[in-house]
Structure formats: C-alpha cells, structure tokens
C-alpha cells in the first residue's frame, strides 16, 4: 500500500469542443491523495474546480499528464469504480426511485451481472446508510427529500460503493448551516475512522479551514497552491489568490471581510470575546480598528463583575454605554 490513492502529474484539464481543445487548467503541480486525508479544493466560481475533480475522477479525459489511481493508470471504468466513488452536483430526479434502491445502486461495481445482491452487498448498504444517518429515510421516494437529506442519501450511495477514495463536488451547496457543519464533521470522521481519502470542492472557506488536512487553492488558469490550511493562511496564499478582486481576506480572523477597510481609524482597548465582537461591530460601521495610539477616538472595554461597559473617548469627552448597540448609535 505504498502508492497513494491518487497521484496526478503534469495534469492539464479541459474539454474538447468542436474539434478544438478548451484548456481550463494547465500545468498543475503534482497532486496526491493519501488514505485518511481530507483535502478541500477551493477556488472561485469558474476557476475549474469541477473540471479538475471530474478529471481526477476519470469522468472526463485529461488533456495532458497522467492520473494514477492506486498506482495504476488507464484503469477500466469498472476497476475505477471500485476505487473512486463520487457525489456530484447533478440532481437525481427519481423515476420512482426510493432511497434504499438508490443506495443499493452504489453496489453496482460489485453486484452480479443482473444487479443481484449477496449478503456482503446488503451489509455494505446497511453500513453506508448507518454511517450517513439515513436509516429512517430508506422507504422515502427520492423526489420527496429535502436538499440536506438528498445530499446525505447521495453520500450513503457513494459509501455503499465501498471505495478507498471519495470525491464530492460542492457537497455543502444548498444546505443550511447546521447541515453543512454536520456533513463536514461526518466526512472528517470518515477519514479518521474508516481511513478513507476524501477530496471535496467547496466554497466554505471557514469550514474547510477547520476540517481539512490539506487545502488545494485553485486559481483560474491552473495556478494551484496547496498545503496545510494554517500554513496557507500564514503564507498569505488567500490574500494573493484574491488580490485584484474586491474582497479582502482577513488573516487575523480567517474570514473574508465584507466591509472594506479605509474608514476613519478607531482604537480598541480590551481583549477576549468582547473585544472580538466589538471589533466586528466597528468594522461593520466602516471603522478601521487599530491598536496604536494615533487614533483620535478610543473605545475601551471595561469588564466588571455585573456587566461589561464600553467607554468611548473623543477629544477629552468620555461616555459610557452598556451595549454595543448603544455605542454604535452614538458613533453614527
């Protein structure tokens, strides 16, 4: 088991259209997915995430370079299906499919030539549904499922396929926040407990920073930065990736800032949770929050036994507020 689950070299992705090659990403660096690793593929819309994912999964041919799955290139579709399972963004429109039958389809590469199931197949289906937490959905028709349920069902189908490598294309799209977090946690658990390799593309930077063992940050044209999430933040990879666009990555908090900087400076004194949320509020109001003593306005947080107070000092005057809301009303 020395060779990685997936290894790609000199990869160029794209597609053929009318006899011409349309290159989406060219000259990608070496890519490697090992057992037990969770890799998040990030990138703006149109940067080629899906094309890269589909190329690695063998759904579309690479325009150049090689993809080796478990050390072997040019696997037959059937062999490939025993090593990589997919969750795609394609909507499954059920022709009378119920959830159980859909998960059973995941056994396709293993089942008999008429699709009959043996005991091993049945237990794999059961384990997959259990892991994805959809036991109670199994008799529902697919078209009656909510987006979150549907995503879990498609994950269960991929798990039933019982492959060492799992790839998911934007699995968290259309999900509400708790479902997104639950899904990410579930995937993370799978890498730890079942030793699966997982590659998923997502727009959820904050979640990716928390769960990923490795990030692949894809920029249009085929520039791909990769590394441990924390290294990438500290190296400024995100600032660089989004330079030139009108969004700013805040290295200190690990999120993209909605409110542009450049407003009047204000100094914030205090720390901990109170300071964090006060800072967010001030930034929303357009202030540039600094620590230096150059600002002519200062907000000082005083933590007392009963309740915190916010003291605003401007040109000698000083007023005290009992909530951030009151402070902001004064600042406006």
């Amino acid at each position: 088991m020395s060779s990685p689950l997936l290894y790609a070299k000199n990869l160029s992705t794209g597609y053929h259209s009318g006899g011409r090659k349309i290159v989406v990403s060219a000259g990608l660096p070496e890519l490697e997915i090992d057992r037990g690793r969770m890799i998040c593929l990030l990138g703006a819309n149109g940067s080629g995430k899906s094309t890269l994912l589909r190329t690695l999964a063998g759904l579309q041919p690479a325009l150049g370079g090689t993809v080796a799955v478990g050390g072997a290139t040019h696997l037959s579709p059937a062999d490939l299906a025993r090593r990589i399972s997919l969750v795609l963004t394609d909507r499954v429109v059920g022709t009378n499919l119920d959830v159980y039958s859909l998960v059973v389809l995941g056994r396709y590469p293993w089942s008999g030539w008429l699709g009959g199931l043996d005991a091993a197949d049945r237990s794999a289906v059961g384990r997959a549904m259990d892991a994805a937490g959809i036991m109670d959905l199994q008799h529902r028709k697919v078209h009656t499922l909510s987006d979150g349920e549907s995503q879990k069902v498609m994950l269960a189908r991929a798990l039933a396929q019982d492959t060492p490598l799992l790839m998911l294309d934007e699995p968290t799209a259309h999900l509400d926040l708790p479902s997104r977090i639950r899904l990410m946690r579930l995937l993370h658990t799978l890498t730890r407990e079942m030793n699966k390799g997982i590659l998923l593309s997502t727009h959820e930077l904050d979640l990716a920073l928390q769960v990923a063992d490795e990030l692949w940050l894809l920029q249009s044209g085929g520039v791909l930065h990769k590394g441990a999430p924390e290294d990438m933040v500290l190296e400024g990879a995100f600032e660089a990736a989004f330079a030139g666009e009108d969004v700013v990555f805040d290295r200190a908090t690990g999120v993209f800032r909605i409110h542009p900087e450049g407003g009047p400076a204000i100094r914030l004194e205090g720390d901990g949770t109170l300071a964090f949320w006060t800072r967010r509020a001030l930034q929303r109001e357009g202030f540039t929050v600094i620590r230096e003593e150059t600002a002519d306005r200062v907000v000082r947080i005083i933590e007392e036994k009963s309740a915190p107070r916010w003291v605003l000092e401007t040109a000698g005057a000083s007023r005290s507020y009992t909530s951030i809301g009151a402070l902001l009303r004064e600042l406006k």
């Binding site: 589909r54 299906a81 022709t95 009378n96 396709y108 008429l114």
Partner: protein, 350 residues
C-alpha cells in the same frame, strides 16, 4: 410489505392476461361458444363447425399472439427509452425507427406503383405482406444505422434524443412529399397501413416476429442493471463503472429491433410505448428494471389484447383500426391513474 403487494399485482395481472386472451379469441364477427374455443385450443378435437377451428387456429390465435408480442415489445422499448433519455414522454418512436419503417413502406406503396401494392394487399392484407414487412424492416434498419453512427459521436443522451426526433421529422417530411405526388388510391393504401393492424401476421411471419421480439426482450432484461444505473444520470452511471456509450448502443439496438420488427408487421402502433411503463411503475411501485421489464410485458400484452377486443366492436362486422383504440382507450386510463396517484408525479423527472 412491498414484496407482498408485488406478488398480489403479479397474480392479478397474470389472471387478467389469461382473461384478456380468452376474451380476445372469443371476440369477433363470428360468435363461437366458449367451450368450443377451449376444445379447439386444447383438445384438437373437431369443433361443431369446421370453419370455427379455422377461424380460431388461423385468425384469432395468431392475432392474439401478435397482440401479446407487440404489447410486450413496444412497452419494453418505451421503458428503455424513458430510462435512457430520463424523459417520461419518450417512446420507442423517439429514435426515428418507426418513422424509418414508415418511409420504407411509403417507398414501396407510393412509388412501386399501384400494381405491386394492390397485388400485395390483395394477397395478404395491408399489414401482412412480406413485401411491406421487408420494406419496413429495411427502412427501420437504415434509421437505426444512422442513429447508431451519430450516437457514437455524442457524449450526451439528450443530444441523441434531439437527433432521433430530427431523423423522424425528416423522414416524415419525405413521406409527405411522396404522398403529395402520389395518386389518392395509393395514399389511401398507405394511410390504412399507418392505422396499424394486428391481424394478418400468420405462419412464418409470426415465427419471425416471435423470434425477434423474444431476442429483444431477453436482451432488454439482461441489460436491466445498466438501465438501473442510468436512472441516476450519465455521470453517476459512469462513476459506477458503466461504459455509457456501449450501454447506449446496446439499448438503442434492442429498442430498434423491437420497434422495427413490430412496426414492420403490425404498422405503427402508438401510445402503448409511452403509457405502459408508467402503469408498470404505478402497479409495482419500483424503479428496478429487473421487475419493471416483466411488468411492462404483462401490462402491455393485457392492454393491447383488450384494445384489440374493443376494436372488434362486439356484435358488429366493423373492425376499427388498432391504433385508434390504443389512444382512445389508453390515454384517459393513464390520465385517471396519474391524477389518482400523485406520488408518481411527472415532477419527479425534472
């Protein structure tokens, strides 16, 4: 629970099939008592009237067998097309095969001059002639070859559907041109053929129809695993190890074979191919093709037998064309079922 419902449906449908068969054989202009029919069918003993055994053996039994074969073939072809194109309105005709067969027939009937056609029709009736059947086979085969050649160049099933429809449309336009320049008698002959007919397929022709439909049905059943995988769309099917292009070729070939040979011998029979797969899904509440294909066979055979009974119009000499009956009887039936059972909404395909 699901399993017992299925068994119940299956038993009910089998009984219905037997009933429909008996009804179809006993229906007709000449009234033959039921026990005489059974005697002719099973004991080979001479019937009370010698002409009765000729009617049953040479006319009614072959017609019932033809109805069963055509019902099975068209329904299974329709099911395959609905799954391949993931479209509830697809039928075996979407590939342009039926139109191809029609073109072949039109070519013979309309250009061959009235001499050949009149001879052929006088000899065996408009649907039963070898000449017409061969012409239809050639037409269907050419349409199928065209579709196959084009399908090898496409990755997408939807494009395939559009191309099939276009081939059908061009073919029908060619037929229209032919009709426009032909004399009214020849056009009428051709029109009669397009009404469809289950009668007149006897002897060797029936064996050939039976053989080819049998091969097609077995091939369809053997590809049920592929069809199941295609339910999730081409990308998922590919990710599960299905070679989509090869699967498409097999499915297109099977459907073409079924639709082509049935159209050749019976003329274009509409509606069965669209409706029966929906009825099968309703009755058996499943999406597994291993079950749906036999279910389609059962329901398709029953429906076509019943339609044939109605077309005899009990008590009269008049025989209405089968194509009219399938639409008149079947369409309201499907509407009724869909309205009563909303869970199989057409929405499910979107």
């Amino acid at each position: 629970m699901n399993c017992s419902i299925r068994k119940l449906s299956l038993t009910g449908l089998l009984l219905l099939l037997v009933l429909a068969c008996v009804l179809d054989i006993s229906a007709g202009a000449v009234r033959i008592p039921l026990h005489d029919i059974f005697r002719i069918l099973f004991s080979r003993a001479p019937a009370a009237d010698a002409s009765w055994s000729f009617i049953v053996d040479k006319i009614r039994l072959p017609k019932a067998i033809t109805a069963i074969l055509a019902g099975c073939g068209l329904s299974v072809g329709g099911l395959q097309m609905q799954t391949l194109f993931r479209n509830p309105l697809a039928d075996p005709g979407v590939l342009g095969i039926t139109a191809g067969a029609s073109l072949g027939v039109a070519a013979v009937m309309l250009t061959g001059g009235s001499m050949t056609t009149i001879y052929a029709i006088k000899e065996l009736g408009p649907s039963g002639s070898w000449l017409i059947a061969c012409a239809a086979c050639v037409g269907a085969g050419m349409a199928m070859l065209l579709v196959l050649v084009l399908s090898g160049r496409l990755r997408d099933n939807v494009m395939m559907l559009i191309i099939g429809l276009m081939i059908g449309s061009v073919t029908l336009a060619l037929i229209s041109i032919w009709q426009y320049f032909s004399n009214p008698d020849e056009v009428k002959d051709y029109l009669l053929w397009t009404f469809g007919s289950l009668g007149g397929v006897t002897g060797k022709q029936l064996s050939i129809l039976g053989l080819i439909v049998g091969v097609g049905l077995i091939a369809a059943w053997l590809s049920s695993k592929m069809l199941d995988a295609l339910l999730l769309g081409e990308n998922y099917a590919r990710s599960m190890g299905l070679t989509v292009r090869r699967a498409r070729t097999i499915i297109v070939c099977t459907t073409s074979l079924l639709a082509g040979v049935i159209t050749a011998f019976c003329g274009p029979i509409g509606f069965i191919g669209i409706a029966v797969p929906h009825l099968a899904r309703l009755c058996f509440n499943t999406s597994s093709h291993r079950i749906l294909i036999p279910a389609c066979c059962l329901i398709g055979a029953i429906l076509l037998l019943l339609c044939d009974c109605i077309s005899q119009w009990p008590g009269t000499q008049a025989v209405l064309p089968i194509n009219i009956i399938t639409s008149l009887v079947g369409a309201p039936l499907v509407i009724l079922l869909l309205v009563r059972r909303r869970n199989l909404s057409i929405n499910a395909y979107r």
